[in-house]
Amino acid sequence: MLGYIIRRLLAVVPVMIIVALFVFLILRLTPGDPAAILAGDSATPAQLERIRDRLGLNLPLYEQFFQWVRMMFQGDLGVSLISNTPVSTMIGQRIWPTLNIAMLTIFLSVLIAVPMGVLAAWRHRSWVDYAVMSFSVLGFSVPVFVIGYLFIQIFAIELRWLPVQGYTAPTQDLLGFFQRALLPSFTLATIYVALIARMTRASMLDVLGEDYVRTARAKGLREGSILFRHALRNAAVPIMTIIGTGFALLIAGVVVTESVFNIPGVGRLTVDAILARDYPVIQAMILLTAGLYVLVNLLIDISYTIIDPRIRY
């Protein structure tokens, strides 16, 4: 197992290389020109050309690539083409809000969704089941911003319990963090709750008919421990996967929610960078997410072996 973990961690390197190459190619294939956004509307072609030279955008592709890779190996993520700030500083500022909110969201989602799904499976085709399904349908098909606006309207504007927008770091003011992170987290959580609850239900239904559930009943266990200790654990692998990939998605940043609640996270950073073709920022962001994904996925994979001892790699 230890060997496996080490092998997986080492695999970060090829993953990064694939991602780097891929991203680099995609970016250079996409039309758009950071020089143009730098210079604004009334720049002349000659001026643009000079800026492009200056930014190194006129070098041959492979040279740009190797230069970038070389810098990466020296731990230098480069400088934003647009704002001229070091990319590491920019990401450093932006990653924490996203991470913190992602963790809160996943925590809330799991807390709410798993019992919901278990209940729905337990009371298959009862009103609980249908209620969970209706909630999930809404969670899937109502755009996030609508949920966000509704929360804001109710909790921030009508009731004035929580602020409308913004972000406070938990290290700075824990209460402030929760006040500002609660609405966005719940907003994000709706879709995850929907997804996780459905998955839990689906997975539990498979398990509840198994003989060992009957054995557990024969032992006189309470329904709760039958469901959560015996059945849920057997159903947990796909649920864990959904939670894991959900978390991975969240740490990549979720643009719409970040916009609605004005959270300075990496989601907006990435989209802004893509729209401005700020290559170093995009490249660094994607590499970072790739790295995080490798890590999260490794954790998911390890969790499988803990949940289900029959799973071996």
Partner: protein
Amino acid sequence: MAHATQPSAAMQTVLGMLSLPRQWRLGAGPMVAAVVLFLIVLSALLAPLYVPYDPMQMGSLNRLQPASAEHLLGTDQYGRDLFSRIMTGGRVSLLIGVGAALFSVVVGMMIGLVSGFFRAADAVIMRIMDSLMAIPAILLAIALVALSGPSVWSVIVAITIPEVPRVVRLVRSVVLGAREEPYVEAAIALGSSMPKILWQHLMPNTVPAMIVQGTYICASAILTEAILSFLGAGVSTDIPTWGNIMAEGRTYFQVKPGLIFWTGAILSLCILSINLLGDAARDMLDPRLKKREA
């Protein structure tokens, strides 16, 4: 939906006439769902025949009208008839939603089965998936459009590619457990080929998860399409799609909530039906559940 029971009965007879095996006949709930879905698809397909206005016809003096006899659901910010737009919008949206869900599930399923079953392939495939997962859909969409021009298909592909690794992970996770089941060993002992074991023994285990994930992808693709359109990487924003109507309606959320409400309602109805059908399908696939029916 009050009148939906009648066509349901009719459908029952039709199915009866087709003399489908009994286990393929649906209960009342799924039956209604099937009919509703059928009606939605049909009304989207036939929209050009019956909608009162050209869904792209603007009237600058007609902006954001409330519902009236003239405009059943009012008009949008360009003075276009909302009813006509919503009904027509289903065409592109359903294509994208269903297309993206189908593609990602099918592709993800194949890769996931192989990856989950063969330890040797797993390491390589999953690392490629990890890499794919990191590419943002937006970027992909912009690049794809640049390469092949804007079209519904590039939207579907752009949405599908980042979705595939997640499906793969899910399928693989189910397979990792299922491959240890004795009946898989039994199949090996009976000389079943790998494709057969993957497809016939292991795949059905993934169906419940795939139904959940598939409906989710379907819905989220319909909504994501709007985001891509707004980056110019999708279908043109004046072509109505449910995603576009809602995304454009975002600004008018408080001024004219109908833009989002009605579109959201029909989308929800659609997803609800798909969900009900999915549940029915999974129950059909699981003999133990079928028996547990009340």
